[in-house]
Symmetry: C2
Subunit: 334 residues, 2 copies
DNA sequence: TTATCTATCGAAAACGGTTTCGTAAATAAA
DNA sequence: TTTATTTACGAAACCGTTTTCGATAGATAA
């Protein structure tokens, strides 16, 4: 509750509310003298504008939303850091929403955004998302959306991604060069473009090297069933000698499985992961990782969004900004 | 921009705006018949209330703020998950702000909250925070604050913390039981209560066991200088045989230092850390950790805040909710 | 001298809801 | 039948800004 309002300042200075408002907005209509007087009074009285009154009238909220699955892993944490950094510099506020990989939650969240609550949206879709109506609906109501990481490239907007296909291709080739012959790929959702790109990078590399063994696993959200899926991998006959993890969350699980089944990394199994966290080097064994530039993805996505916000009539067309990932070779794939 | 407003529905149904508003709010003043008609029309027309108009009039934003240093480590990520979960169930929105350990940023953020932007605040103070005027100012303007993790216990509100003193005491005793004689403690900020509690737990245990060696290091935000501080520790004469890390962020750094200086864990140095992340078990060597119940801390803090919000005249008194941490013994301290 | 600017300010209408208060009709109480 | 009460709704004020549109006085141009 804003104790001091424009009206109070106006009364105090025997000016009109309009004049005070304009003075604080540094309008050309107001003389430098009164501006100084108003500014001083506002400061002294501790005036802080009511953002809701302001947003209502200006039809702009100075707020953006970040919609993500969750902040379980380090990737989204760093992305948010990047976003917040940029938002701050633009004087924007950041609302955060988690879908917990649920389409219905995502739909409810997006529905709310048609109210004008936010001026723009930064989002990474859930695993379940197999329709985009809830997204196009808010885009149609003139709220720009910028995707990052988990994108929907078919929509007419900007996607900030990494070179997933290439990274995955290179990762697969790397394992092949280490004489792996049976390489498995573990992803999460077949509907996610990011996952499909990685998968096809993996498959292309196999094809290129005439390797017929191909094994794509889908792990979900439940650690228990994921554990089963992963462990069954090593109990089967076509036991792999290399694994590419597409999901950071599965790292501890894979290490656990290998530990429990006494599968030795890297002698019996070479491992390589898409991830983004500092401790990979100090794991046992040190983990080869494909590092996504998470912080920069957040920054670039936010900057792109603010550019769209600046231009009232931005052209809505599909576009991809690709930030390269970096493979860091460590013992787990040696 | 909300394309369809109350006025439009009113006109469509030849009702007054007031009636429509009350009908949607399920007011007793409106007959069930008209309620049904209004609800149906609102649904069909795709009405979504403008939150800014609503907040302006109701003087409630249905929004809470989370103010934290940053989401660099897993702790705050999990806390936010817990907070978001609770906020969602209350129909609240979550604004997120990072101080980046800067007091002036924290002050600017809190200053803004005197505008009525948020109904309540969940916060973990920055390392630099050595004054609380900016916090009491918003509390005085009737915006409740609940602290978690990095708290200021002198303020008349609720703090959600873990049993830092006891955990640190137990951790120190554990190292002593492993026949460590020279145990160092690495904290971040001497102004933070959480750090002081851990430090005194450490010191009390030493005193209790008549150990005179006492070594408290302060590491800041800069990895380079932190590296120097940590490495100088092992170059000095009074080289420790045990270390307690109070800060998760320093784990990779410590492992790096030990690696570079060829200090072997745990034979030459036993290590133990306050942290909260799943991979500790798979580090080399597996790291003994004091796990904070991060997710629960977020949940409890949020629930406490919403309780305060529910009661308009909540009594403002200092109170601590202590959630116990859990020590998980692993090889690094064996 | 008169007409035209220019600079500076205020009245009032938005923005889109919520809430108070009044009122007419229907019902209950006397 | 008269009076009191309840039910169901609308008119209008209000939340605190922003913005449009005048209005006025003084300066300038014709």
């Amino acid at each position: 509750m804003p104790s001091v309002t424009l009206k109070m300042i106006a009364k105090e200075l025997s000016l009109s509310v309009a004049t005070v408002s304009k003075a604080l907005a540094n309008s050309y209509e107001i003389s430098e003298g009164t501006k100084a007087i108003v500014l001083e009074a506002a400061r002294k009285m501790g005036y802080i504008a009511n953002p809701y009154a302001s947003s209502l009238r200006k039809r702009r909220s100075k707020t953006v939303a970040v919609v993500i699955p969750e902040i379980a892993d380090s990737f989204f944490a760093k992305v948010i850091n990047g976003i917040e950094e940029v938002a701050l510099s633009y004087g924007y506020h950041v609302l955060i929403y988690m879908t917990h990989e649920s389409l219905s939650r995502e739909q409810a969240i997006m529905q709310d955004f048609r109210s004008g609550r936010v001026d723009g949206i930064l989002m990474s879709v859930s695993e379940e998302t197999d329709t985009v109506e809830h997204i196009t609906a808010v885009m149609d109501s003139n709220v720009p959306v910028v995707f990052f990481d988990r994108v929907r490239e078919e929509l007419p907007t900007t996607c900030v991604i990494t070179n997933d296909f290439e990274s995955s291709y290179a990762a697969t080739e790397h394992l092949i060069s280490k004489s792996c012959q049976k390489i498995a790929f573990v992803g999460n959702s077949p509907t996610l473009a990011i996952n499909r790109n990685r998968e096809s990078g993996y498959k292309s590399a196999l094809k290129e090297h005439n390797i017929s063994y191909e094994n794509v696993l889908i792990c979900g959200n439940d650690p228990k069933s994921d554990y089963k899926i992963l462990s069954s991998l090593f109990k089967s006959d076509g036991r792999p000698d290399g694994v590419i993890l597409s999901v950071e969350k599965l790292i501890p699980l894979l290490y656990q499985v290998c530990h429990d089944l006494k599968v030795e990394i890297p002698s019996q199994l070479k491992v390589l992961t898409f991830t983004n966290f500092a401790m990979a080097e100090f794991l046992n064994p040190p983990l080869t990782t494909i590092n996504q530039p998470a912080y920069d993805i957040g920054k670039v996505a936010a900057q792109t969004l603010f550019k769209k916000l600046a231009r009232s009539n931005h052209i809505a067309e599909a576009e991809s900004i690709v930030l390269p990932s970096e493979i860091i070779f460590r013992e787990s794939s040696n």
